[in-house]
Symmetry: C2
Subunit: 565 residues, 2 copies
């Protein structure tokens, strides 16, 4: 059962020429821009050129509420893609681009694992084609133009204390969370308190992930609100004269990046917005291309089905106008055991001994979470398929128990072993997903645009989270009213709560009931196109640990990278 | 005489496939990595593979002391390249990558001008292949690891007040010059005062421009000094465990970028270090590739011959071991008139009316600067050629006067009109440069490694700047001693003084004498491999003006950029 390391497997991979892969997608060379040897950008014209082709089945991969153990959602997504390819279905994957913060911080990379990987993994993890850097540059250009506006006389009467636009860098650097800028002498700007977020948390990232065309990108950039003037009126990037230059900085970043899996399934990697204060979903444009260039388009949404999938349905699909045909819910025996609340599981520590003992009963005790997440897919009219990502230490009776729980909830299920076996280990899952996706779809948004923001939050909190209601802080109440007043009431809502529980309390496992969603703050991502509500503390700039992954990363004299995993 | 705008000319350009251009350089497809349509990276293996081929003539383009009017050094470099190509000499250009700070700040682009441009200009000016972003990322990773080291217990006993490593961004943002980081709560780091420099001023940029191989890059990164410990001993990036990860971030950035001129002369664009606190020269590795793939390699050094060319000779060539065969000194009638001190010239304002009147006498009155810069090339045993960049408003008698001044100083000269005429307008210059470069070269470094730092500074100040001597502040004295004590005495020196005068006073025109060089501070770029001395105030983070170029930059719905020039 011992398999080589991720990096070893990735290094041994024999890549297929991307132009051949693109060819199978119907994407000709005139629509491709090579970046190095094994990555290409796909021009947005591809979506228009392929518009007459049949639309792919659209599958979103989500999961039970994440546990510190990791459920293998990305590996399952990659395995499913390879499984669908192996069973004769032309399939494209659409994934988020990993941030370099965690690459050098926690884990040294994010490209799947084992025999379900996206390659080349070094390129994927380090810069890729520079999209995140372009977003950083656009974000910080706006920041510089805000401070320059204050410095040059503040013609728009922007209230410095109202400025919500911070700066961004793709790094884990806690020292940049809270800073004072503009110190020094009179010619060094206007002192004020601000900070940096990791670029994944930038509104520009969210905006790029939701833009449907270059024209739409340009318009959304103009609508970004950076603060208010002395009369409380929003001040936009357009008014500051920054939106055009920001768009110029993003002219290549809006094109999806084409890579491949170890088994040569095409993968569109594009954008990587945060999963709490933003959508946690890869880009609309990548999906628009993928939906016209394959039989199946499989995309992954961040965190559990209450988080990434809910935003996939109610924000991403609302904006793109595309309806999903199936949702895959990744579950593991160990996750369900963790959701039983019977074990104390800590990230980075070995599994508690007693969790490895055969116990379908412990699995059953954690069923509520899986059941609720199945329901959360159904709420949107989408057929759920439970993908049971099998670990070598799982017992057959436990895997059967997960299948039984799924069956009782009326959901299809399949066990997959693709991390060890590659796409072959996901063929059953592929057939099951195809069965679900080929049924007529009945996709419905959870709420219409014309509900009030308050009603929209209520809809998500009650129906998706299982809360009894919503409670607003005084600040949040005021901010909510101000959003409505400023004409943002038609936007969908993005609720930033913990991803570690369906509730707002990270400690609560399963499917908590009898609680109220506490909204602390309300902010608008007017450019990206949603209003987000902060429940609890959201960290938008991670820190490094005492032994960051960077310690182990190096190159040899041929430029070969080591230490990524 | 009216020619279309730079952007119009660049847009109408018909590019030659880069693989054909590379083919003429003897660089096969296995050594090329395409980035988008019209840019490729060249693998460093190219230099080894081509090692047996005859070495090109090596020509550096420098200038008289810059005036607010601009002398057209880059256009002359491009024109000379095209002129050499047209006269049957296979020629490669090696240029610096423009920073995006000025692109959005002052001038909206830097790719030459008129019919002497590097194309595609949008790509050149916006991100190119992401090298500068990679440098930013490597720079800031080290910064994050420094602050993390303090936060995690400070095992190396790094003295927070000794930390000289700041952060970097490729932007003009004065508000970031002086900041306090680590504010917030106990988990948000250790508060301390620091700031951001523009990435061109990063030591990582200087280091990448001077590295001779991947192995050398890795070693230099390890030697970066970020501050001292409680006992005053230098603390390095290697000790902080950051150098390997920084090298991984730079694994593609070390490969030169291949573009072309409007006339299809190959251009290696690579690195863009500051011209005051660093070398102001493009990379060693680009030159090593170019020197084996053409008959002529033409590179450009920053500012006047006392600045960029002096560092080209004494830092870049010292490290690369390559000897130049000729130096081109760009001069203009208007520059010499400005150096006469008879006119008040302000950047961005129209020329004073009286400067346009025919007056060889005013030209002659500014001759001292040109003469001294000719001497500065000769000091290093390199044949100078004066390139007179003709403007439509110049009078023939004035152009003749410049030629006469050059001839009196024993230098060859040629008038060039390539901005309006393209390479055809630089054929005379090409022939003249070839004549100079084909003479036996007698290149000599101004000082050997084993002189003391003080003696090295003295050598540059007296011989190149024409100073009577050097004066150190008490701080500078101590820092100089500390550099010697820490084993950095063998390094070359980089004197950061104003580029607007050969002296240390930006107001003084011509070739000032009877003055003393005031050294305010001494710092080590131990990784890059030089010690730099600060004379006067060096701005390492520019600001934006009241009407930055960003205001005019935009894209249309096809992603076409406008407003760059």
């Amino acid at each position: 059962m011992q398999i080589p390391s991720d990096l070893e497997i990735a290094r041994d991979a024999v890549l297929e020429p991307l132009s051949d892969i693109a060819g199978r997608m119907g994407i000709g060379p005139h629509l491709l821009e090579p970046y190095g040897e094994s990555v290409m950008k796909v021009r947005l014209e591809a979506a228009d050129e392929l518009a007459e082709r049949p639309r792919a089945r659209y599958v979103v991969v989500t999961a039970v509420t994440p546990t510190p153990l990791g459920e293998g959602k990305t590996t399952t997504t990659v395995g499913l893609g390879d499984g669908l390819s192996r069973t004769g279905r032309r399939t494209t994957l659409a994934l988020r681009q990993p941030s370099m913060g965690p690459v050098f911080g926690i884990k040294g990379g994010a490209a799947g694992g084992g025999y379900s990987q996206v390659v080349p993994m070094e390129t994927l993890n380090l810069h890729l084609t520079g999209d995140i850097h372009a977003i950083t540059a656009a974000h910080n250009l706006l920041a510089a133009m805000i401070d320059n506006h204050l410095y040059q006389g503040n013609q728009l009467e922007l209230d410095p204390h109202s400025i919500t636009w911070r700066r961004a860098l793709d790094i884990n650097d806690r020292a940049l969370r809270n800073i004072v800028t503009g110190l020094g002498s009179r010619t060094d700007g206007t002192p004020r308190q601000t900070g940096f977020d990791i670029t994944a948390a930038s509104e520009v990232m969210a905006l790029l992930s939701l833009a449907t065309s270059v024209r739409d990108l340009r318009a959304r950039l103009g609508r970004i609100v950076v603060g208010t003037n002395r009369s409380g009126k929003p001040v936009t990037a357009e008014e500051l004269g920054a939106a055009g230059a920001m768009a110029a900085l993003l002219r290549d970043a809006i094109k999806p990046n084409l890579l491949q899996t170890l088994e040569h399934t095409p993968v569109l990697v594009h954008t990587g917005p945060f999963g709490n204060i933003a959508t946690g979903n890869s880009s609309v444009v990548a999906d628009l291309v993928g939906l016209r260039s394959s039989d199946y388009l499989v995309t992954e949404a961040g965190f559990g089905a209450d988080m990434g999938a809910e935003r996939f349905f109610n924000i991403k699909c609302r904006i793109s106008g595309q309806a999903p045909d199936a949702a895959v819910l990744v579950a593991t025996v160990r996750a369900l055991k963790t959701h039983s609340g019977r074990f104390k599981v800590v990230a980075g520590r070995p599994l508690p001994e007693e969790m490895l003992a055969e116990s379908p009963d412990d699995v059953r005790a954690g069923a509520a979470n899986l059941r609720k997440q199945i329901e959360n897919c159904r709420l949107h009219g989408v057929s759920p398929v439970v993908a049971i990502n099998a670990f070598p230490t799982d017992h057959p009776s436990e895997l059967d128990e997960v299948r039984a729980i799924a069956a009782e909830a009326g959901a299809r299920s399949a066990v997959c072993r693709n991390v060890v076996e590659g796409g072959r280990g996901a063929e059953e899952l592929a057939e099951t997903v195809a069965e679900a996706a080929e049924e007529p779809s009945d996709f419905t948004l959870l709420y219409p645009d014309n509900l009030s923001l308050r009603e929209k939050v209520e809809a998500v909190a009650r129906n998706v989270y299982g809360a009894d209601g919503v409670e607003y802080s005084t600040t949040a109440e005021k901010q909510l009213e101000s959003c409505e007043r400023n004409g943002l009431g038609h936007l969908p809502v993005c609720i930033a709560k913990t991803h570690l529980s369906i509730s707002a309390d990270p400690q609560l496992r399963g499917a908590p009931t009898g609680w109220t969603l506490p909204v602390r703050e309300v902010r608008a991502s007017a450019g990206a196109g949603f209003v987000y509500l902060i429940c609890g503390t959201m960290q938008t700039m991670p820190g490094l640990s005492a032994t960051p992954a960077a310690f182990n990363i190096d190159i040899d004299e041929d430029g070969q990278v080591s230490g990524l995993s």
